[in-house]
């Protein structure tokens, strides 16, 4: 399964200054964590796309993405050739004119993430829910992709 993380052009994955203050923690964690866990969960290596979890059971895939503070009409979910795309724009709703900014760690702007699903899904059986800043997309597997039990007839 390929997971492509989109990054804002010109915006590096370099952390904010606050990220630097936790650099020591991050380095400690890099040495402690098993190798497989590193890349996806590491804060320093993460780009600006939303963090994802993907689950599978025998009938469906569930994709969960962290998208805090969005309006549901600003989130686009699409399926093309077996890859699921989640895109949108995180807008800063708060007026900041005439204010003094102390910290600006939240990300605003366009984002997109694409996930190639490991098996065929039924395009007409996709549902999405947005709650507490987490988008949950449920995709039913296509009939031909579901495991089938075939009875063997012995004469």
């Amino acid at each position: 399964m390929n997971i492509l993380r989109w990054q804002t052009p010109g915006l590096t994955a370099w952390p904010s200054f606050d990220g630097l203050s936790t650099l020591r923690n991050e380095i400690d964690r890099l040495f402690q964590a098993p190798l497989g866990e590193l890349a996806p969960t590491s804060h320093l290596l993460r780009g600006s796309g939303p963090a994802l979890d993907i689950f599978e059971d025998k009938d469906s895939f569930v994709v969960k993405a962290e998208l805090p503070g969005m309006k549901k009409e600003d989130i686009n979910v699409s399926l093309h050739d077996g890859s699921l795309s989640i895109s949108g724009e995180r807008k800063n709703e708060t007026k900041s004119e005439g204010t003094e900014v102390y910290r600006a760690e939240r990300f605003f702007g366009r984002f997109q993430r694409t996930v190639n699903l490991p098996s065929q899904v039924a395009a007409d059986k996709i549902s999405a829910e947005y709650k507490n800043g987490v988008l949950t997309v449920t995709l039913a597997k296509a009939e031909e992709a579901k495991p089938k039990q075939i009875d063997v007839q012995v004469n």
Binding site: S16, L52, I54, E66, T94, Y102, R103, G133
Partner: protein, 123 residues
């Protein structure tokens, strides 16, 4: 407002894996300060905002995961959120209010009346 993160995690090795610091925006207006923290996965019932002395602590516990399938790929942090900030003494702690919408906690910290700029009429 001192916005330094109290680095509890570095001092307390036992608690290190338990919390993650949420990303915040903090700005000051004439009326007071506004703190916005990103806590996706946290609902109203999982939130705790505590004022103690000169510190404000925000804690967010994630709602329990409802998915039953096998995880194929995980990169979301599962730890709860926690972060401590030091308050400007000008803040009127009795009037602090908080709300949460779609994983964003917004804490409004108004300044007390005596420090707000005001015009003095000249007789």
């Amino acid at each position: 407002m001192q916005t330094t993160l109290e680095n509890q995690t570095a001092n307390n090795h036992a608690a290190r894996e338990d919390y993650v610091a949420p990303n915040v925006n903090i700005f000051e207006t004439q009326e007071g300060y506004v703190l916005e923290a990103e806590m996706p996965g946290v609902g109203k019932e999982g939130l705790d905002v505590t004022l103690e002395g000169t510190e404000i602590t925000i804690t967010g516990r994630r709602s329990p995961e409802t998915v039953t399938g096998q995880p194929l790929f995980r990169e979301r942090n599962t730890a709860d959120y926690r972060r401590v900030f030091e308050l400007d003494p000008a803040i009127d702690t009795a009037k602090v209010s908080a709300k949460v919408t779609q994983g964003i906690l917004t804490v409004t910290l108004p300044k007390s009346e005596r420090v707000k700029p005001r015009k003095i009429a000249v007789n």
